[in-house]
Amino acid sequence: MKKINPLLTIPYYLWIGLFVIAPVLLIVYYSFIDIHGNFTLSNYGNYFGSGKYLMMTFNSFLYAFIITFFTVLVSYPMAYFLTKLKHKELWLLLVILPTWVNLLLKAYAFIGIFGIDGSVNHFLSFFGIGPKQILFTDFSFIVVATYIQIPFMIMPIFNALEEINPSVLRASRDLGANEWQTFFKVVMPLSMNGVKSGIQAVFIPSLSLFMLTRLIGGNRVITLGTAIEEHFLVTQNWGMGSTIGVVLIVIMFIVMVITGEKRGHK
């Protein structure tokens, strides 16, 4: 195509300016503003000076790490077995389907399942283990977050496994490797890119799932996302909220650099 009417593409560039660049600048700007509207560095001083925020960041990291770890642990075998099935595209669709059900509804389901009088407790008391507090604990938060993230991990791993050239596997077998050796020496290394993009898709959102911490974690689990929501919508201290936001953005870039695929492959 040689030319396109600029009127058609202007909205797109307006969007980049107004909704991509401006918000990032605004959040950085606000991180230097205190609650009275004056320019200050005290938000950062607060953040790095008091153990409270650093502890919260560390906890948030730990939760995200645990969630990502368990998600990879259960998703990898599933993705691997899925590629062996006959109608794999259809099965993959069944994995994706739960992601189309609203996240809030899934969280709501777990309120019923984990409740003090809920099914899991009925099940436990059947074995003589009395009703336990499951809802509003770290455990329930991790289970529900993992549950929600699994499809997002399976998809990229599945795609990476699918892209492996079958002739490589045949070559490995011809050269005398058994099934396990082929899996660990050939399939796993070749699918690492999928795992990496899965981690990218799971780890960062796990830092910011504030609705889950509220509904499932009670107020015992506080992540970076919860803190941001609290500062913006409850205490109205936008400066501090933006500071935490900037920290989250920096973390996001670090994660992306670590897990980033090598360029030029697309």
Partner: protein, 278 residues
């Protein structure tokens, strides 16, 4: 005795884990009791409650109107954005634009929500109609849907051969005719897929909406959140049964579109799906 196939056992366990909560919700929608703990008998009573709850029905309608509108506008802007990115000769420029494009896809929802809240509060102090409410929610949904549309349309553009447009020019078509009669029809599968994705993004979004919605406007997700904080009400279960049926229909529709899309071009189909990841 037959040997147990551990692969299938694992797959079954995982699928049960994935679907149990959803079916649990739907199952209790038919409970005549009031809790999600004990099934007391079959009844449609919660569906009747749902259909009598005009407030919730209006919210449902508004959520769909919002999804429909935001997806439509995002698709238009995103399609031309993709064409514009594609037309840049330099690889560096294209990559830079693409990185800008992807920022909103990789950003956590809370960051998008918080920064949009700042943006709309500032804009609202200048232009009154942009203060928090339907307008801000609509603009936010358009904003976070545009990049996904671009990612769905771009592979189709890359797949299109230049000779196609060259031929059209040679045959005397002007720029506008090439666009409307050659390029856009070629891109249609990508555009439809982009619309679908934008639509579901809008329906699913909670965090961004939660930040930028004022007091006057609510979407379904926000409403479910505030009801769920108050405790269990089986009306929500009835609603989720309907929502699940609807997503089933959407997924089936999407499946056929994407199959159409990638029947001859399996690789491109995969690239598209890779891009879909958030």
């Amino acid at each position: 005795m037959k040997k147990i196939n551990w692969k299938n056992v694992y797959l079954w366990v995982m699928f049960i884990f994935l679907y149990a909560p959803i079916f649990y919700l739907i199952f209790y929608a038919f409970n005549s009791g009031e809790t999600m703990n004990r099934f007391e008998g079959f009844s449609w009573v919660h569906f009747q409650e749902l259909f009598a709850d005009t407030r919730l029905l209006i919210i449902l309608l508004e959520t769909f109107i919002l999804a429909f509108l935001s997806a439509l506008i995002a698709t238009m802007i995103g399609t031309f954005g993709a064409i514009s990115i594609y037309r840049y000769q330099k690889r560096r420029t294209r990559l830079a634009l693409l990185s800008l494009n992807n920022i909103l896809i990789v950003s956590p929802d809370v960051i998008i929500g918080a920064s949009f809240l700042i943006l709309f509060t500032l804009l609202g102090s200048w232009i009154h109609s942009l203060s928090l409410g339907f307008a801000s929610v609509l603009l936010s949904h358009i904003a976070f849907s545009i990049p996904i549309v671009v990612l769905m349309v771009l592979p189709k553009l890359q797949e299109m051969q230049d000779s196609l447009t060259m031929a059209a020019y040679d045959l005397g078509a002007n720029h506008w005719q090439v666009l409307t009669n050659v390029v856009l029809p070629y891109l249609t599968p990508g555009i439809i897929a982009g619309y679908f994705m934008a639509f579901t993004y809008s329906l699913d979004d909670f965090a961004v909406t939660f930040f930028v919605t004022g007091n006057g406007f609510t979407t379904l997700s926000v409403e479910i959140y505030s009801r769920a904080r108050r405790g269990v009400s089986l009306e929500i279960n009835a609603l989720s049964a309907l929502v699940f049926l609807f997503s089933l229909v959407l997924v089936i529709g999407y499946y056929f579109i994407s199959r159409d899309n990638s029947a001859n071009h399996r690789r491109q189909g995969k690239q598209v799906r890779k891009g879909v990841l958030r």
